[in-house]
Point group: C2
Chain length 195, copies 2
C-alpha cells in the first residue's frame, strides 16, 4: 500500500484486461474501445499511460512474460513435490497449461504471427522471450540430467514449441506426452545424473 503513488490502479486494470482479451481473441481483433470498456477506464487514461496500441501490446507481453514465468516455476515445483524429477515436472506443467481453460497457444507466437512484422517491438520482444524460455529449459535439463545433457536442449526446445502449436491447433494436450517421451529418448540414460 505504501507504493500506491508509483503504481496506477487504472494502468494495472488496462494491462490485465488487455492481456485477457488479447490472449483470447488476438491483438488485432480486440480494439481500444473494447479494452477501455471492460477495464472501466476512459480512453484518455489509456493514452495517458501508453502512447499507442502498439505500445500497449508490448507492455502486455512484458507483463505476460512475468506471469508465465511465475506460473511455470510454481507448477514445476508442485510437480516436483510429487516425486517427479525437474524435467518430467516441466512436461507435466506443460500439459497442465495445455489443458487449462481458455488455452489458445503461446501469446508470443500469436503476437508475432498477428503483427506479421519482425521489426515490430512486440515481435522483437517475443523473439527475445523465446530465447529466454529456451535458456530456462536448458537449465532445467542440466539441473535434471547433468551438464552433458545440455546438447539436447535445442532439439527439446523444438519439441516443446511443436507441442504448443499442436496442442493449440488440433486441441491435443497429449502432445505434451509425445514431446516428453521424445525428449527423454534424446537424453543420455536416466540415472546418469551429476556427470
Amino acid at each position: 500500500m505504501a507504493k500506491r503513488k508509483t503504481e496506477s490502479d487504472a494502468r494495472r486494470r488496462i494491462v490485465e484486461t488487455a492481456e485477457r482479451l488479447f490472449y483470447a481473441e488476438g491483438v488485432r481483433a480486440v480494439g481500444i474501445d473494447r479494452i477501455i470498456a471492460e477495464a472501466d477506464v476512459a480512453k484518455m487514461t489509456l493514452y495517458n499511460h501508453f502512447s499507442s496500441k502498439d505500445d500497449l501490446i508490448l507492455a502486455v507481453l512484458q507483463y505476460r512474460e512475468e506471469k508465465v514465468n511465475e506460473m511455470f516455476a510454481q507448477s514445476i515445483e508442485r510437480h516436483e513435490k510429487k516425486g517427479m524429477d525437474r524435467l518430467e515436472a516441466f512436461f507435466a506443467a506443460l500439459k497442465d497449461w495445455f489443458r487449462s481453460t481458455g488455452f489458445r497457444g503461446c501469446s508470443f507466437i500469436n503476437a508475432s504471427v498477428e503483427l506479421a512484422d519482425p521489426g515490430h517491438p512486440a515481435s522483437q520482444f517475443s523473439a527475445a522471450h523465446k530465447e529466454g524460455f529456451h535458456n530456462m529449459l536448458k537449465e532445467i535439463i542440466t539441473q535434471s540430467r547433468g551438464p552433458k545433457a545440455a546438447s539436447a536442449a535445442p532439439a527439446i526446445a523444438l519439441l516443446v514449441e511443436g507441442a504448443i502449436v499442436t496442442a493449440a491447433m488440433e486441441r491435443r494436450p497429449d502432445a505434451a506426452d509425445v514431446a516428453r517421451d521424445a525428449a527423454l529418448a534424446l537424453l543420455p540414460m536416466k540415472r546418469n545424473r551429476r556427470t
Copy 2:
C-alpha cells in the same frame, strides 16, 4: 485475350493475389479493397465468386494446400536425386523452404492464430491439413526407414512444427538441421531398413 471458356481468369487472379497478400501480411491485415485492386478485378466479381471474405480465406487455404504439397513433393524428389534418402530429403526441403524469400511460417498455423476461432471453417480446414501433413510425413518415414519406424512419426511431427515456428519467429532456418538430427536420433539404426 478472349480465350476463357470454363475456368474463370478473374477467380484465379483473386485467389493468387489473396494468397500472396494473406501470407505476407496476414488474413486480418489485408482488406478486400486491397485484394481487388492488386488482382485488378471489380469488387462484385470477387463477391460473385466468394460469398464472403471468410469464404475467400478458406478457398485460399485450399489452393495453398495443393501448392505446398506439390512444392514439397518436387523439392523432396530433387534432393533424393542428389543421393539423400527420402527422410533426409524431406528435411532438406524443409530447410529450403525456411530459406526462401518471404518465408513467414505456415499459412495454416497463421490463419488459425489470426482467426482465433476453432469453429471457423478455415481453422477446421487448417487442423485437417495438419493431420494430412503429418500422415505424409509418416509415409516418408516408413518409406525411408521401414514400417517399424512409424512409431517415431508423432514426435518427428512435433520437431517439424517446432522448427517451422522457430524458423519463422527467430529467423533461424538452421532449426531444420536441429530437427533433422533429432529425428534421426529418434529412429532405429540407419541401416536397419526393410525390417
